[in-house]
Each structure stands twice: as C-alpha cells, then as structure tokens.
Amino acid sequence: MSITITVPRDAVALGLGANRVARALFAGAERRGLDVTIVRTGSRGMLWLEPMIEVATPEGRIAYGPVTPADVDALLDAGLVEGGAHPLRLGDPEKIPYLARQHRLTFQRCGVVDPVSVADYRAHGGYRGLEAALKLDAAGIVAEVRESGLRGRGGAGFPAGIKWNTVMLAQSHQKYVVCNADEGDSGTFADRMMMEGDPFNLIEGMTIAGIATGATRGYIYLRSEYPQAFATLKEAIANGVKAGVLGADVLGSGKAFHLEVRLGAGAYICGEETSLLESLEGRRGIVRAKPPIPALKGFLGQPTLVNNVMTFTAVPYILEHGAKAYAEYGMGRSLGTLAIQLAGNIKRGGLIEYAFGITLREIIEDFGGGTQSGRPVRAVQVGGPLGAYFPDHLLDTPLDYEAMAANKGLVGHGGIVVFDDTVDMAKQARFAFEFCAVESCGKCTPCRIGATRGVETMDKVIAGIRPTENLAVVADLCDVMTDGSLCAMGGLTPMPVMSAITHFPEDFQQRGPMSVAAE
C-alpha cells in the first residue's frame, strides 16, 4: 500500500526549499523501491519548522521538520515511511504545544487537507456549514452570523451580521459578494495561508454569504504579491465548479453562486473597501466618499457585501456548530477567535488562532519564545503599518478591539511584528510617513501632502535639527491627518508615528551632528 507523505506548498515552505525537498523525497523513495505518494498541502502555521513534512502511519500522522533536501536520504534511511526515529522527528504535529494550545476553528483543516480537492475538504467536515445554511431561510442565516458576534476581521471590526442584513434587505436584480484578499499589512499572512492551504473554506463562506444576501456572483480581489494563492484559488474554483459546489446549482439547491478571482496590481490602498471596488471595476484605486455605503451601492453600483478572508472563513464553522458555540470564545464585545500572526524578529513565528483576550506578552513569550536574534524585545507593532508600536510595559494588553483602542492601538488584521533593542524608533516613525506617501491614493490633501511633509520633518528630527520644535510640527500634522483624512490610510498613519514618539522619546532627541549647534 502506498504511503502518503505531505509536503507543504505554502509560500513560506516554498521559500525555504519545500519543492526541492519534495523532489528529493520522490527520487529517494524511488531509489529505495518505496511506494510513496507525495501530497502538497498548506502549512500548519508553525513557520519556524518549515518545511515540515508529515507521514501518514497507522498510529496517525508523524511530522518532521525543518527538513532540507540534504536531510532526505538520512530520513528515509531512518525509516521515515514508518515514522522512524530521527533528530528532526517532531511526533504527532497536533500534540506540539504551539498547536495544541490553540483554538483552531477557522484553521482546523489548513496544512491537513489537499487544498484543491473537494473530496478531501468534505472528508474533513467541509460543506457541513453550507448544508446547514441551506436548511435555513436567508434571515435565519443572517441571524446566526449576527448572534455569533462575528466582527469584520479586516481591521475595522464592524459587526458582520449588520452588514449581511443590509445587503440581504437591499433590492436589486444583481447583488455581489466581494472578498477583500488584499492582505497588504506587513506582519500578516493569515489570508495567504488560508487561500493556499484551505481555499474551500473561503469558497464555502462566500457561498453561504451569497445565499444569505441573494448575491449570485462573487469576486475574490487578491493582491498580486501572492502568486501561489492565485494559482491555488483558480484551481480550487475550477474543481468546485466541476464538483457542483459552485455554479448554477450549488449542492443541488437550485441556487446559483458564480465565483471569480481577480488580481490587484500592487496598491496597498486597494485593501480599503471602496478603493478595492474602484479597482475591481477597472479604475484607479481612489477611495470613494461614504455614503453611499457599498452594502447599498458597491460594485458597479449594486448592493455588495465586502468582507475580509478571515470574516468569510469564520462562517462555515458558525453555521455548522451554531452561533453560540462560536460566541463562547472571546471576551466582551470581541467574540470568537482571532488569527494572530506572529512575525518579525521572533524565534517561533507563525499562525496562532486563539480566542480574543490573550495578551501580547503571552503570544510573544509563550508562543514566540522571544526574539530570533536573542536580544531583548524593545518594540512591538500590532495591526500592520497603521498600527501602534507598543513598549514592554504595554505588553500585558489583551488582544481585544476595545482594550487595544483604550491603549491607542488597534487589533487590525491581527499581525504582530516584534523588534529587538537595535531598532531605531525615529526611523520607524519616518517609515510610517514614507509608506503613506508611497501608497496614498492622492484623493485627500491631509494624506497626500501630509505624508510627504511628515517624511521631511522627521528627516530634520533625525538630523538633530531643532527636534523639540519639529516634533511639535509632527504632532500637529498628525492631528490634521487623523481628523481630516478620508480613509484609514491617512487617518491612521499618525498611530505608529505618535506611538513611537510617545513610548520611545529617547530615540527622537539629541540626534545627528547638528543637535548641539541647533539647540
């Protein structure tokens, strides 16, 4: 009987040589006359162990990692196919504390299943959410989503049930479901991992959304920086159409849902939903003024439900297990689980799906094991390039929308980027302005001009030119950008800037050769 070995095709695993490992395994098994089938999966999310391969044994799956092509012969000689002993043997992957401690509701299948196989998805519990949804009427599905407490996972945290209800009640001959897969925040990769590892979870979530809102067409707007996810999604959608889970008659229900994936073109601003819709329509990704809200007047002027990948992929679980089961996780008004992405200078980076309420320190120390460099943690940026930099004394803040806001930060898309004590916070503050200047859509003045003035003023601070006066200019500029920008790009750029100035003032004073003369 053929022995199945899974090798991830997740972008991180590929970036660390997974294709070469797969080729070495194939060749090594052939030389030894072993009957081995190699299945390419997504990643489990323990990214410091990639490429992590798994062998299906009678006792369950046994993992090995991180595997390089040079390890393969020794692994096969050590009896890899029977789960034999070797220094890289990790045992049952689900018993590794990093994974065992998590609350894997949304990511339960990622790294386990063949991402493009409908049959494998169903064998692991897939499409039970849609089957449950098809037994309800539209209002019943929306009620489940509302009662689960699910909030938009893209960053804004808007209650999903309210948005779904608005689109459901809107009258039109054609409504749309659009998935925002323009995951541009540095430090985030949950959407990418899901699309590469379990795309049918997204497809199922969007199909449920289509049926609930009466939208028969859907688009996934994917950033072009994710070529692997693009290929996997296209393959999964084609297989879904063949299997009858997408198309004119979804699961024999008589209801239609047509899905297409579209590529962005390298514009961060297209992660803002109105800019995304402009881009999807074929124009410059310029932010639209709201109202009208996209739920009433979105893609091509029609009612459109726009949600993030992580919002849609929470839905199959909610429909299968019920709103209450999901809402049992989390705290306060942040219910369910959050896909936390631990990144930057970190020993054990990866995907941590956990109930809201876990603290930053637990994530960085217990899961992450400190910095990769071994130096002390100095600053932690939470929620992407528009999120705040936190110093050590704020690391006991729980990840919860309200608690983060109370500390002038945000949850964003759940990305956590760790910096050690070599970081220069004035440079990070300058970069926040620079990024905004590069990526601003240019529609509103505070963002378009403010970002450039911010870079210039920070350059003066860094050169040691009248730092106190120039920092007052930066603070004033940040007030204007916060209050006067049309969207979160200009409106939140002040967050990393001001948090850096507030929490790390020592990095902004007495700099450069001119400081003495200027003072």
Binding site: G282, R283, G344, G349
Partner: protein, 156 residues
C-alpha cells in the same frame, strides 16, 4: 518564459479575450504585461476603444498601479520586501548590500539586462523574513548569498 515583442494585432487579440469581463481593465493589463513584459503605449487606444473608455482613463489606470510597467524590463523580476517585519530582520542593510552587488538602484535593471529590482511592501513571508520574490518564486530568510544562488539558477 521570454516575453514576446510588442505586436498590435496580438494585443488586440488579448483584449478581445477579456472584453466580456465585468471590470475588464486590470485583467487586460495583467495579460498584456504577462505577454509582452510591459504595457506598450500603443495598447492604450486599443483598450480605450474596446472598453468604451477615454484614453486618459486607461492611462490613469496604468500609471496608478505599481505593478504595471510602461517600458520593457530585465529578463527576471526581483522583488525585495521593504516592510516592517522584514526591517525587524535587518532588511535595510541587506538591501544596501544586494543593490551594491547587482550594481543597481531601486527600479533599476542590471547592466546585462538580466534582473530588474523592485521594492515591495509585504509578501506575507513575515515570520521568516527577510522575504523576496524572484519572478513568482518566494525566498524566505533571504541573505545576499542565497539570493545570488537563486538568481544564478534562474539564469543558467
């Protein structure tokens, strides 16, 4: 796969294949760039005619997005991530070293026409930075040497 030289009839054919799509502009521009390696000025009136847009609208769209090039580039595309998670792993110093080795600045093409270097902001390799893409292949835990090995493999 090497790029085809610019051809108006070929471009018109590509446009015709996509014209039925809702919001066809970006899919057309991506397809043109994939075929020719860039979007030729000559494509602008063709797209405008096919989609009933003004030439200004098409030009505006091409110039808005970082991805679209208006002139041919090197045979291989190198995208280096400049965002925060890679900065935390020392990407700034690494990029200075890489650009010096290749003898180019950002957006530049090496003298032999092999490699064009573009900055990108996040490739989703943030837990294993610094990250890069060579053509469409990801590279994690990037060093100047691992990049050189990957580029040599591409060019051989």
């Amino acid at each position: 796969m090497p790029n085809e030289p610019w051809s108006e009839p070929r471009a018109a054919g590509i446009i015709a294949e996509h014209v039925h799509l809702e919001g066809a502009t970006l899919p057309i521009l991506h397809a043109l760039q994939e075929t020719f390696g860039y979007v030729d000025e000559g494509a602008v009136p063709l797209i405008a005619d096919a989609l009933n847009l003004s030439r200004a609208e098409v030009h505006g769209c091409i110039t808005f997005y970082h991805d679209f090039r208006r002139a041919p580039a090197g045979r291989h595309q190198l995208k280096l991530c400049r965002a925060e998670a890679c900065q935390a792993m020392g990407s700034d110093a690494l990029h200075t070293q890489i650009l010096a080795r290749l003898g180019v600045d950002w957006h530049g093409t090496t003298a032999d026409g092999e490699v064009t270097v573009e900055p990108v902001y996040c490739l989703g390799l943030c837990a294993n930075g610094p990250g890069a893409l060579v053509n469409d292949e990801p590279l994690a835990r990037l060093t100047a040497d691992s990049l050189e090995a990957a580029l040599t493999e591409k060019m051989s």
